[in-house]
């Protein structure tokens, strides 16, 4: 009972603190402190309710148990991370996005291909492509190669659509100016159009970070060696070791945020000229 009351008291106290804080001018400290306080509140209430109500660990383990499992199985988590994120997701992401960008540059030269591929690409980008996972597992085996292949299939079309839009985003005035400079196709591409395409390209790259992780994890549900995040999640769920599952999900969340953060950071570097980055 004390746990429940303590959790609720903490909740009310933190909420009151947040209301007071958010009423003040939004300095950087306030903008960081408020969401962090909220996150801590969620963890404290979770811990208090699980302990206070005696929720069994096979339904919802408390955060401290998850942290303990995390610390206990660091070596397993690292092996899974290498297998799924570094080998499966990252290699697939690089191949898929890279080939989509090249394809976009190639088809951009032909009006006919662009008009044909764009609707098809838009259609394919909205499809549940994770469903191809069993097929790729059958073709490329249980190793990370099949996961990378699923990731390539998932990221290719969203990236292609964004890149084609980006290449088309230059203004007539800018293209005219390149023409008055007697710039060749390649010069126009390298000095004007690729730069103009970058905000769109990064939009695609950011969406694809999440897709890549999802693809790599879900593909492991269809068959994998005896390590990997998707494998670990599905087998540990079967053994009802939910603290390990939550630790694995924490790794997935950290990897996803880190991956997204890195892409967002390089976006800021590359598209420093874009209005949304000027302050």
């Amino acid at each position: 009972m004390t746990f429940i009351i303590g959790a609720l008291a903490f909740w009310i106290g933190a909420w009151w603190a947040n209301v007071v804080l958010s009423a003040r001018p939004a300095t950087l400290t306030v903008r960081i402190a408020v969401p962090i306080l909220f996150g801590i509140t969620v963890l404290v209430v979770w811990e208090g309710l699980v302990r206070g109500l005696d929720v069994p660990g096979v339904i919802l383990p408390p955060p401290t148990a998850i942290a303990a499992a995390f610390a206990r199985s660091l070596d397993i988590l690292w092996v899974d991370f290498v297998q799924t994120v570094l080998k499966g997701a990252l290699s697939g992401y690089a191949i898929g996005c890279g080939s989509a960008i090249l394809t976009a540059i190639l088809i951009d030269r032909s009006q006919f291909l662009t008009r044909g591929l764009l609707p098809v690409g838009n259609f394919l980008a909205a499809l549940p492509i994770v469903g191809t996972a069993p097929i790729f597992v059958m073709w490329f085996g249980f190793g990370w190669q099949s996961k990378a292949a699923v990731v390539v299939a998932i990221v290719f079309f969203p990236m292609l659509v964004n890149m084609v839009q980006g290449l088309a985003s230059t203004e007539p005035m800018q293209r005219d100016m390149m023409k008055t400079y007697n710039a060749s196709y390649w010069q126009t591409l390298l000095k004007l159009r690729l730069h103009a395409a970058m905000p769109f390209a990064f939009n695609g790259l950011k969406i694809c970070t999440t897709f890549a992780l999802i693809g790599a994890i879900v593909a492991e549900f269809f068959g994998s060696p005896i390590y990997g995040m998707g494998f670990r999640i599905s087998t540990e769920v079967g053994r009802l070791a939910l603290d390990v599952v939550w630790a694995e999900i924490a790794v997935a969340a950290l990897a996803g945020s880190l991956f997204y953060g890195l892409v967002a950071l390089s976006e800021k570097r590359v598209t420093f000229w874009h209005p949304s980055n000027r302050t």
Binding site: N18, I59, P128, G131, I135, V237, L242, V245
Partner: protein, 293 residues
């Protein structure tokens, strides 16, 4: 003129689709020929090229089924089978569809409610929004097997666990989209309502809600696609009982590639129908509201 415009957009699409199908056929011949040659070699038969191509198009468990094999399977399992049959794709599709739509409805409703809370409370906005945005970068789908098993162990099974995953996946896109939608009116428009002495309730219904409609439909499209993926993945850990995800898993267990491909194409059709119907609702609504020319 209309026909000319139609040809201009239809012809390239048709050409691309035709190219995809012919590449598919070529790949099918190439990938399935190993098995065909193996069998022929064991039986001491020399296959002519024509016989080889014919063989690769009609295997029972080809590495890559030819498009027409998938089409035949689709026809047999949708039109010719009774809907109540366990082998009918319509039956499985409806199971997946119900979980998708149910979860999508819950997720959207909760998402809109939270967005309303966020725009009216500064504290909520500052505490929740960063997490809602960050959650977009997190592979939430990884939670699916656990949600299914945990809900099953406390006695909830059937539609609800899958719908929970669908709801969860469609929730965050709707929150983020609707918050920007509710905030999209100009300060000038809010000022105008203030001069009319409108209260926040009236400002919400007469200004914020209509202004948010384009954002609503955009996030609904993202949400329903995510819901469908959620429902399909949610069907995997239930041990391949029913639904399109279960068809995929059963097909991959038993090497029934034609079954996998037909389940995949039904899932794709379902996605296209769902996104398309939201697109139609969007056009109708926005035209009615005068937001579309």
């Amino acid at each position: 003129m209309a026909i000319g415009a139609l040809m201009r957009s239809l012809l390239p699409v048709a050409a691309v689709v035709a190219a995809i199908i012919s590449v598919w056929y070529a790949l099918a011949v190439q990938m399935n020929s190993d098995w065909a040659l193996d069998r022929a070699g064991q039986n001491g038969i020399e296959l002519s090229f024509g016989a080889l191509v014919k063989n690769t198009m009609s295997q029972d468990r080809p590495l890559l089924p030819a498009p027409h094999q998938v089409a035949v399977e689709l026809w047999e399992t949708t039109v010719e089978k009774k809907i109540t049959s366990k082998r009918s794709l319509v039956h499985h599709g409806l199971i997946t569809l119900s979980a998708t739509v149910f979860g999508f409805a819950i997720g959207t409703a909760l998402g809109i409610l939270l967005a309303v809370g966020i725009i009216h409370s500064r504290a909520m906005n500052m505490s929740i929004m960063p997490w809602a945005i960050a959650s977009q970068a997190v592979p939430i789908l990884a939670l699916a097997p656990m949600i299914i098993v945990v809900l099953y162990s406390i006695g909830v099974s059937g539609l609800l666990p899958k719908a929970t995953i669908s709801a969860y996946l469609s929730f965050f896109p709707v929150v983020v989209g609707m918050v920007s939608g509710f905030r999209s009116p100009d300060p000038m428009q809010f000022d105008l309502l203030k001069t009319y002495a409108a209260n926040p309730w009236q400002a919400f219904w007469k200004l914020r809600v209509p202004a948010s409609m384009p954002y609503l439909f955009t996030s609904l499209k993202v949400g329903i696609a995510a819901s469908l993926v959620g429902a399909i993945v949610g069907e995997l850990p239930t041990g391949a009982v029913a639904g399109l995800g279960a068809r995929l898993l059963a097909g991959s267990y038993y090497g029934q590639t034609i079954q996998i491909w037909s389940a995949l194409i039904s899932a794709a059709t379902l996605a296209a129908l769902l996104v398309g119907s939201i697109g139609i609702a969007q056009r109708l609504t926005l035209r009615r509201m005068g937001m579309l020319r």
